[in-house]
Symmetry: C3
Subunit: 182 residues, 3 copies
C-alpha cells in the first residue's frame, strides 16, 4: 500500500516548495512530478515556468490535466509529487454542467478514482492542494461549487493520507498528528 | 456553568461533521440541534437537506435564525449543537443599516446575549463557525463589515470557550491548547 | 542581532491585539509602534482610530507607509511593533506598474530591505501580517499579484523570524515550533 501525504495551504504559503523538498528527501534526490495545469494564458505560463525552474533533472516529469488515475497506474517510481489537486479539479469541473443533478455523485467518483490509483501505486504520493474556503462566500456560482468540491477533495484525500500538512508562511504544520480524534 | 466549545474552519473543512460527532459522543448518542439558516433559494435548500440527511433521530431539532439566546434558555438538554454562528450573524446583519453609528455596539450586544445564554445553560454547547477573513479584502462593504463581525464573533466565543477547534481538511486541531498565553 | 517575530492571521483574528500584548510584555510596559496605513477614506480612518484607541501612552508612535527600513534604522527602542506588512506592501504595490518585467525582482528587493533593517536593529521587532491567500482566486489582476506578494512576504519574514504565530479566533498558535523540518 502506498503512503499518501497531503500538503495543503493558501496561495504562496510555501506548499509546493515544501512538497518538492519532501519528495526529494523521500526519493533520495530523485522524484517523479505530475503537473496538472493547462496553459491558457501568459500569466499561467509564467507560473508554470516558475515552478519548472525549481525542478532540476532530479525530476521525471509527467503532465496530467485529466485522467491522472491512469497516469499514476502506469508510473513506476519511488515517490510521486502531484501538484495540484485544485487545478486538476478545476480542469474536471470546467467541462461539467453545474446544473447536472449527478454532479455531486460524479465528483465523488472522480476523486475516488484518484485516491484509489494512489493507494494501488507502489510509490509514496504527495498531493499538493489549496485552501480556498476561508474567504467570503463568492458571488459566482461556479466559484461556490468549486470551493465546496475543493474542500471535499481535501477531506477525502486527507482521510486516506498518512500525513496531512498545512503550510503557513513557509512552514508545514502536521495537522493530523495534532488533531482531535473522536 | 456550561461547557462551551467552538469549532471553526473554512467552507467544507469538515467542521459540521466533526461537531456532530463530538455532540453525539458527549451526549451518548443523543443531542439537540439548533439550525440557523433561513431558506431563500434552492441552493440553500440543498445545503440544508444535506446537513439534515446526516442527522438521524438521535437529534432533537430547533430552528433559530433569530433570538437564539431565548431558544437556548428554554432548551433542557445535555448537549446542544449550534450550526452556525456566521449564518446567525448574517441573518442579524441583513436586517441592519450599515451606516448606523451604533452598529458596532449593537453587534457586541448581540453576540454577548448569545454567549451569556450559552453560559447560563446547563448544556454543553458546541458552536460551529466559519473562517471568512483569510482571502482578499472584499470590494463590497456589506461583505467587509460581515467578515469583521464574523472574526470578532469567533474571538468573543473563543474567549468564553473551554475548547477551540480549527477544522482543516476534515481534521480538527485544538487551537487553544497549542496557543501562546501572554 | 534583533529577535524577529511574525504574527499572521485572517482579518479580525486577533493578531494586532496579540502582537500589542506581546510587545508590551517584552518591553516591560513600553513599546514603539510603526503604523503603515495611509488614510484615504472614513472607513480606514475608523479602523485606524480603533487601533489607536487600544494604544495608551505606553507607546511611542511612528508612521511609515513607505521606506520603513530607514525609519527602523533610526529608532532606538527595545521593542518595535510593525503593523502591518500587508498594508505596507499595498502602499508599495499601488505605486507600481503591474506589467513591469522587473516587478518580481523589485518586490524581493523591497522585502529584503525591510528584513535587513529589522535584522540590523537592536530592537525585538514584531511584524503583524495578514493571511490573504485562502479564498478563491480573485478575478482582479492587482488582487492576484497582491496576494502572491503578500504570501511571499510572509514566507520571507517567517524564514528570518525566531517565532511565527498564526492567530485564529483570538489565539496565537506557534507555527514554527510545530512545523516539520526537512
Amino acid at each position: 500500500m502506498a503512503k499518501i501525504i497531503l500538503v495543503t495551504g493558501g496561495a504562496r504559503s510555501g506548499k509546493s516548495t515544501f512538497a518538492e523538498k519532501l519528495a526529494l528527501k523521500i526519493g533520495n534526490g530523485k522524484a517523479t512530478y505530475i503537473a496538472t495545469a493547462q496553459i491558457f494564458d501568459s500569466e499561467m505560463a509564467e507560473r508554470v515556468k516558475l515552478h519548472q525552474s525549481r525542478r532540476t533533472d532530479a525530476w521525471t516529469n509527467f503532465e496530467a490535466p485529466f485522467d491522472a488515475d491512469k497516469i499514476i497506474a502506469e508510473i513506476d517510481a519511488e515517490v510521486i509529487l502531484f501538484d495540484c489537486v485544485t487545478i486538476y479539479l478545476s480542469n474536471w469541473l470546467c467541462a461539467k454542467n453545474l446544473e447536472d443533478k449527478n454532479l455531486a455523485a460524479d465528483f465523488e467518483n472522480f476523486i475516488e478514482r484518484l485516491i484509489k490509483a494512489a493507494e494501488k501505486s507502489c510509490a509514496t504520493i504527495i498531493f499538493v492542494s489549496n485552501e480556498v474556503g476561508a474567504g467570503i462566500v463568492p458571488e459566482n456560482k461556479l466559484a461556490r461549487v468549486f470551493r465546496d468540491f475543493a474542500g471535499l477533495a481535501n477531506q477525502r484525500i486527507a482521510a486516506a493520507a498518512d500525513k496531512v500538512f498545512l503550510a503557513v508562511a513557509g512552514f508545514a504544520v502536521d495537522i493530523k498528528s495534532f488533531a482531535e480524534r473522536i
